[in-house]
């Protein structure tokens, strides 16, 4: 079967037309995503509760971060054709012509191999294998297959972003018990409402390049309904660590209160017109205002979802560092 132009990777042999600075190569690694990966992997590592040489711990977290960055570079190589046509991504180094596609791909492959090998040598091969699987899942399963094929792309593909805490835990102990997978489950269930809230007000970009994000494929109303359903599942799941010894009272308070706010914001999105085309009868400023009013609810949920996940993991990290978590108190 001949692949459609939409699934062709970026041109490999295009000569760079603008001088690339070292910071452009750093941008290929998606530093903001890396910072979230570092934070969640570190939380997994610390929650494992094993005393490790601090340098080995730092190298392990660095490897996980570089592995995540490498998958980001491979994503930017493969998606350069659509990135160049979307407002949010057209400033990336490959579509800008600063970095050649082949350079981004090479950098991604080399850094993937180095980070996996170094993590294996520094900690253990379970953690290294999980990192390899994460990179494979993000690049091949999500980027090359799911993203342009199904509106469930970020639901399934979200697993790649959810795995770092389990990798961190495995790096510390050589195993990945239930509590490690609970952290994975939290991020996994958090991803759909988070990503769909964003896509409700950026769906024009995705529609333009034919990526079947949920609002493009199923419509805004269906997306808002699914955001609310996933939020109903997500909020109680966040409470579970408080009953498995992973989280203590501070975590429970953050999870409960934040969960209520999350549900409230998801309800508002459900009731809003976020993502809908403006009413044809409206004209001028009324028409603009109608769009903005709906987008505001989606923006609020998107912004709060980031804060909530950060607070959940910060609570876990803080409790375990201070020795206040039930798992530490039992030791």
């Amino acid at each position: 079967m001949k692949p459609s132009p939409m699934t062709q990777p970026a041109t490999l042999n295009t000569r760079a037309t603008v001088p690339a600075l070292w910071s452009d190569y750093l941008q290929l690694l998606k530093p903001r995503v890396m910072s979230l990966v570092v934070f969640t992997a570190l939380t997994g590592f610390v929650c494992a509760g094993v005393k490790t040489n601090p340098l080995l711990a730092a190298v392990a977290i660095l490897c996980i971060a570089v592995g995540a960055g490498a998958s980001g570079a491979l994503n930017m190589w493969f998606d350069a054709d659509i990135d160049g046509r979307m407002r949010r991504t057209r400033g990336r180094p490959v579509p800008m012509g600063k970095v050649m596609g082949v350079e981004a791909a090479t950098m991604g492959v080399v850094l993937s191999l180095f980070s996996i090998m170094l993590l294996g040598m520094t900690t253990n091969w379970l953690a290294a294998g999980m990192l390899a699987f994460t990179i494979f899942f993000y690049v091949v399963v999500y980027t090359m297959w799911l993203k342009r094929w199904t509106p469930q792309n970020i639901v399934i593909g979200g697993l790649a972003g959810a795995l770092p805490p389990a990798i961190g835990w495995a790096a510390a102990t050589g195993s990945a018990p239930l509590n490690a997978w609970l952290m994975v489950l939290i991020i996994f269930m958090w991803t759909p409402p988070h990503a769909w809230a964003l896509s409700l007000y950026t769906s024009e970009d995705y529609a333009k390049v034919g990526v079947p994000m949920m609002p493009v494929a199923k419509g805004a109303a269906s997306t808002r309904r699914q955001i609310f359903i996933y939020s109903l599942l997500f909020a109680p799941i966040c409470l579970i660590p408080a009953f498995t010894g992973l989280g203590g009272p501070a975590y429970l308070a953050v999870a409960a209160l934040g969960g209520l706010v999350f549900l409230l914001l998801a309800w508002r999105v459900f009731r809003s017109k976020a993502g809908d085309a403006p009413d044809e009868r409206l004209e001028g400023e009324d028409r603009l205002y109608a769009v903005r009013a709906g987008a505001k609810d989606a923006r609020n949920l998107f912004a709060f979802s980031i804060l909530y996940l950060t607070l959940l993991f910060a609570a876990l990290l803080g409790e375990h560092l201070l020795g206040l978590a039930p798992l530490e108190l039992l030791q």
Binding site: P19, L21, W22, L56, V59, F114, M121
Partner: protein
């Protein structure tokens, strides 16, 4: 009849050179950091294995 001159894109050669020098420094530092990390990790792991077992 004279053929029309072909328009070629112009490159700021000096800007490309400067950017390449910056990239080379960054790559060099990255490689040195990698060597140092591998050295330290090896020392720590070998040290842990060399400890006497009681």
């Amino acid at each position: 009849m004279m053929p029309e001159p072909i328009e070629r894109p112009t490159y700021d050669v000096e800007a490309f050179r400067k950017a390449r020098a910056g990239r080379n420094v960054a790559l060099g530092l990255g490689l040195v950091a990698f060597v140092v990390i591998v050295f330290l990790v090896t020392v720590i792991r070998m040290g842990a294995n060399a400890q006497p077992h009681f």
